[in-house]
Amino acid sequence: MTFGAPAFLLVSAVAAAAIGALHLITLREPRGTMLPTARFVPSGTSVVRRWIRRPTDGPLLACRLAAVCLTGLAFARPRPREPRVALVTIVAADRSDDVADLGAVADSARRWTGMEAADGSGAGARRRVLLVLFDSSARLVESHVEDSLARLAGPHVAGGVVSGMRHGSISTALVAAMQAAGRWRDRADSVEMVLISPLAADEEDAATGPLRAQWAGRIGVVRVAERPAPRPDRMARPVVDWPPDGRAAHTVPRVPADSVGAVVAGDVVVVAAFARPWRLDGAGGRVVARWSDGDPAAVERARRAPGSSTPGSCERDVAIPIPAEGDLTLRPEFRRLQAALHAPCGAADDPPPGGRAPLAWTGAGAVSPTRVAMASVGRGVDAEPPRRSWLGALLLALAALALLAELAIRRGAARRPA
């Protein structure tokens, strides 16, 4: 049994002690005795207050104590203590259109849910697996998990059109996973998170990093195949928009403007001091070059031929400013960068986010204790409010019955002749 407001227990204990002490004071007329010289005793009240060793009105005292204690117990919000588990695993499974094979995601998820079944369930279970399905939004699946996984692997409206794709949001998945973990903060010894996702570039945003930093524990990553974005004709030549100042299409001013030390395009790395006054929007396209901090530096977008629903060629927006001074443009690596940015459509591979290899997701160490993993999460992610306990209502009802009994006893005592 746990209590949501244990202070009320102390209050009710103090009140009960005070009531018990008051019952040791009797205000009744004291015992009578004969005294022939009573006429010389001054007249006054015939009721005196005196302490007695044992209360005489036992039933009345019992009813009052019961009412006070039960009321205090009810206000203390008792909750049945839920069974504690050793390990809670939160599996965030990507069901977005960025996933090439949802069946693989379902199979990976089943491996974790199967571990829960193998370790037993109910009171005394060692492991509990929570499933979070996410795309642009996240949903915690608490029951009928197998049904949800079966629907995940079933026929799915495939992406294939460039527009209308449901991209996954890892930030949303992290938030939902941490919320789910918060509910088990007091009931699990350890917690871990597993992310089943292709980790597409489109699934990350500016909040992903900070959210990941809030989770101090390990995040296991199961990278599944990414659905290839509709690519233009690989042999078509791209239309490259590369202004010298880096202000390409789909750029917005970067506030504040900063600088970066390198740009990566495939296996080409150019190290130089690049000023970055512009920020390139990578949504709707395929990032073909990135700054060293992961921001897109060049994005390829498909171009449809007039009257055609399939992309014919592509256009590339390059937001890499070309310095007016120095020998950067003479270096071999810059020329290779130029070549990569002018490669036929679809040729350039999207480099992984700079510095965010899947291994970086995992974090260091083994499964973290709940208090460590949730250390930063505690304030931001509130545990789900406990379900209202039926115990409180029952205790208040019993307290009301005790008060009714006390009233009946008092009235009965008043009616009885002294």
């Binding site: 005294l35 010289t37 006429r39 005793v41 001054p42």
Partner: protein
């Protein structure tokens, strides 16, 4: 119901519990306070002169004197005729008035005022009877007034003990009715009256008035229980056994007021009795009975009121 009580035969066991007391009082004398009027011969000095054996003085023979009263030896020595003069002695009847009201049964544990009163009455009766004085008794309790006329019978004390043994303290004594039944004791100079009680009776002022107007000897023995002088300290409701309407709450805070009121009443009572010419003695239930009897008999010598009126 009231009436005289003189058992035809008195059981010797009536004095069984006061035997040591009577033995302790053997030889105690209780003289009258002053010379008595002429009366039946007794042990108390009388104003009348007579021809008894106890020589007091010689008087010259006068014409008409009884020649048998001439002291012939003195005549032979002095050739002068003198007559022997001696003092007369008279009896001094004693009437004991004992209060047997409900308040005399206090305290309920230990020696009660009634037990002290009974012992005191028997002790005084024994002393008076030993001096040849007639002793009578009146015991007032509730609706009953037990009377025993003064007598000098040999078993007088035992008879008085038998009468006292049949009385249980109860009700209100109404001692005033004793005055009507006491006859000449309360009028003139006919004897001594001893009132024994706690004087909580409403008729006590009438007794005081009778003492004031009487030429006899009055003794007022005020009995107080130790528990009345020093009541318990725990809170309780105290009630008057003779007046059910009197119910007071006794606490530690009422003690001081009670002591003052009770002390003032006792002082006033003593002053009234003394002003009436009576001898007054305050006795508690702690005092031994024989000592009380001796103190009463010494009052005849200790009182400040002139012995002869």
């Amino acid at each position: 119901m009231s009436g005289s009580r003189t058992p035809a035969t008195v059981s010797p066991s009536a004095l069984a519990d006061v035997g040591p007391l009577l033995d302790a009082l053997r030889g105690v004398q209780w003289p009258a306070q002053g010379r008595l009027d002429a009366g039946p011969p007794g042990v108390h000095h009388s104003r009348r002169r007579s021809t008894g054996s106890e020589l007091t003085e010689y008087r010259p023979y006068r014409q008409g004197d009884d020649p048998r009263r001439l002291d012939w030896k003195l005549l032979a020595r002095t050739d002068r005729a003198f007559v022997r003069i001696t003092d007369d002695h008279a009896i001094w009847p004693t009437m004991l008035i004992v209060d047997a009201s409900a308040s005399m049964a206090f305290p309920t544990d230990g020696r009660t005022k009634w037990q002290v009163a009974r012992a005191l009455a028997l002790g005084l009766a024994s002393v008076a009877h030993a001096g040849g004085d007639p002793v009578g008794l009146m015991v007032a309790s509730g609706d009953e007034l037990a009377r025993f006329p003064p007598t000098t019978r040999r078993d007088t004390v035992a008879a008085l003990a038998a009468v006292l043994g049949t009385v249980a303290p109860r009700g209100v004594a109404h001692l005033g009715r004793c005055l009507a039944r006491a006859g000449t004791f309360t009028r003139g100079r006919s004897g001594r009256v001893v009132v024994i009680g706690d004087f909580l009776d409403p008729d006590v002022p009438a007794l005081v008035r009778a003492a004031r107007t009487s030429d006899g000897e009055w003794y007022a023995i005020h009995l107080v229980a130790r528990a009345e002088l020093d009541p318990p300290t725990d809170a309780q409701v105290v009630s008057d056994p003779e007046d059910p309407t009197v119910r007071r709450t006794w606490t530690s805070r009422t003690r001081a007021a009670y002591d003052d009121a009770f002390r003032a009443w006792r002082a006033g009572l003593q002053a009234e009795w003394l002003a009436a010419g009576a001898s007054f003695l305050l006795a508690t239930t702690d005092d031994p009975a024989d000592r009380l009897v001796r103190r009463v008999t010494r009052l005849a010598f200790d009182r400040t009121v002139p012995a002869i009126r």
